[in-house]
Amino acid sequence: MAMYNDKVMDLFMNPQNVGEIENADGVGTYGSPVCGDMMKMSLKIENNVIVDAKFKTFGCGSAIASSSMATEMIIGKTIDEALNITNKDVLKELGGLPGPKIHCSVLSEQAIKAAIYDYAQKHGLEFEGLKDYDPNASEDDHLHEHDEEDGE
């Protein structure tokens, strides 16, 4: 598949941390099937540290690869560190995505935030990195390049 690099292809073919954590401390979803991609992230948090993360994603190859990468990036990180991870960081770890696929990395950034927000809500906590977070923002408010038509 010429459109994805080897790293992305590998993660897509063999995604890590697929699933749902039972009794998770925080669960968040982002996106919707209508938009073509939806990620669900569940976290296990101990002492402010993300000790486990699992995802389920409806989406294209790069959405799945981004999700997998995002879980790997946050496991072992503190919540503040995890909140600092941007879609650019995910992109960088992936070695880049094709232009129209960049929004897939946004998906994983937002899913992390949504899951931590859920954790914060449940425990009445506040995090600097969630200051500007709007749990009701939809995918369209974030980078989502629309590019029309096919060529057949």
Partner: protein, 389 residues
């Protein structure tokens, strides 16, 4: 690795017999058809022969076939040419919501230039309603353009009936027959169309050559101005090898037509039965009664089409997603939307299109792999049949 090509609606390989006819025109028989000397005249003759072959496939007169560079050019020419020819009569065009972009985007272009376009909807089967068509006609209507067969879900439109309505109201009728050519019986006289777009690369001919059927008596202004080629209707040195190839492909299509249709329909129905019985939660998009013999359009619920497409490609299976996330497109298919397929299901839709080189083994291999890949992607997916969308 096994290679299974199931994207014949996107394009077809050039058949050996076709390529063999083309080859001499690149090197020895390379004369410019406008030239007076012998090798020029040879090229001209080759074009005349090809014109007859294409005309023969659709029951047209030879002089009613004008070669263009592709189906898209033919579509553009029909619409823009008619708009120009008839602008004093009116500025209204009727088409459908499920046309190919070559028609739709040309309509958008004309809308920017003062034309009004009605886009007819389609029913669940993907077909227009003839009374709706007639009701949409105003005294400003100058053109009705309705595609013959849809490229995504294969619906065959009632072209003869639609053309009759156009004729009754004195309106020119165009049909984009790019997907229909060689896949249904076409007799332009019986259909009563004024213009029809065709393209060689969908019938085992070369890419980059198309044609327009222009009924005798329909005076359409030229689209590419210049030399006197193609009865002065289309300038530019003729793409001789491609024209020769188109001719041969048309000849073969005519010879094989009924067998081709029977064979493809059988494979298509077999494939649909296999997939829908062996994989749960699969929808067939579009009706079965009026359908392209090789077209299969399926929604694999709860997974996204592109990821499926890529994993199939890894197994050597070539198919196409008319939906989101294709490299050039993130917008869900306008065609499936028009059918009433919910957007989330469009994201999980794939088109399998069967052609002359498809075997039953190809389809079995595909079903096998689909079973596995669909199951895998459904484990990853955040939606499922239990939890619903």
């Amino acid at each position: 690795m096994q290679k299974v090509y199931l994207d014949y609606s996107a394009t077809t390989p050039v058949k050996k017999e076709v390529l063999d006819e083309m080859i001499p025109y690149f090197t020895e028989k390379f004369g410019n058809p406008s030239s007076l000397y012998e090798i020029g005249a040879d090229s001209k003759e080759a074009i005349t022969k090809a014109r007859g072959q294409v005309a023969g496939l659709i029951g047209a007169g030879e002089k009613e076939i004008i070669f263009t560079s592709c189906g898209s050019e033919s579509d553009n020419w029909a619409l823009i040419g008619t708009a120009e020819a008839k602008k004093d009569k009116g500025n209204h065009i009727i088409t459908t919501a499920i046309e190919h972009h070559a028609v739709l985007h040309t309509c958008k272009y004309l809308e920017k230039h003062g034309f009004e376009v009605t886009y007819l909807g389609v029913d669940e089967d993907g077909r227009i309603n003839l009374s709706e068509l007639e009701a949409a006609i105003t005294d400003k209507t100058i053109l009705i353009s309705i595609m013959f067969i849809n490229n995504e879900m294969g619906a065959i439109q009632p072209i003869k009936e639609a053309a009759a309505i156009a004729k009754k109201h004195g309106i020119w009728f165009h049909t984009d027959a790019v997907q229909a050519l060689g896949n249904v019986e076409i007799d332009v006289k019986e259909l009563g169309v004024d213009m029809m777009s065709m393209s060689a690369h969908k019938i085992y001919g070369p890419k980059g050559i198309g044609a327009m059927y222009l009924r005798k008596g329909v005076v359409l202004p030229g689209f590419i101005h210049g030399g006197a080629q193609e009865f002065k209707k289309r300038a530019g040195t003729e793409s001789v090898p491609n024209i020769v190839g188109f001719g041969k492909a048309a000849e073969l299509a005519k010879e094989n037509l009924s067998e081709h249709i029977a064979r493809l329909s059988e494979l298509r129905d077999y494939f649909i039965k296999e997939v829908t019985t062996k994989i749960p939660d699969v929808d067939v998009n579009g009706g079965m009664k009026y359908r392209h013999p090789g077209n299969v359009n399926l929604t694999f619920n709860f997974i996204e089409g592109e990821s499926l497409l890529i994993l199939l490609d890894m197994k050597g299976i070539c198919i196409s997603t008319g939906s989101a996330c294709s490299s050039a497109s993130l917008v869900p298919s306008h065609v499936l939307s028009a059918l009433g397929v919910p957007v989330e299901k469009i994201h999980g839709s794939l088109r399998f299109s069967i052609g002359d080189f498809t075997t039953k083994e190809d389809l079995d291999y595909t079903v096998e792999n689909l079973i596995e890949i669909v199951a895998k992607l459904r484990t990853i997916s955040s939606v499922s049949s239990e939890k619903g969308w």
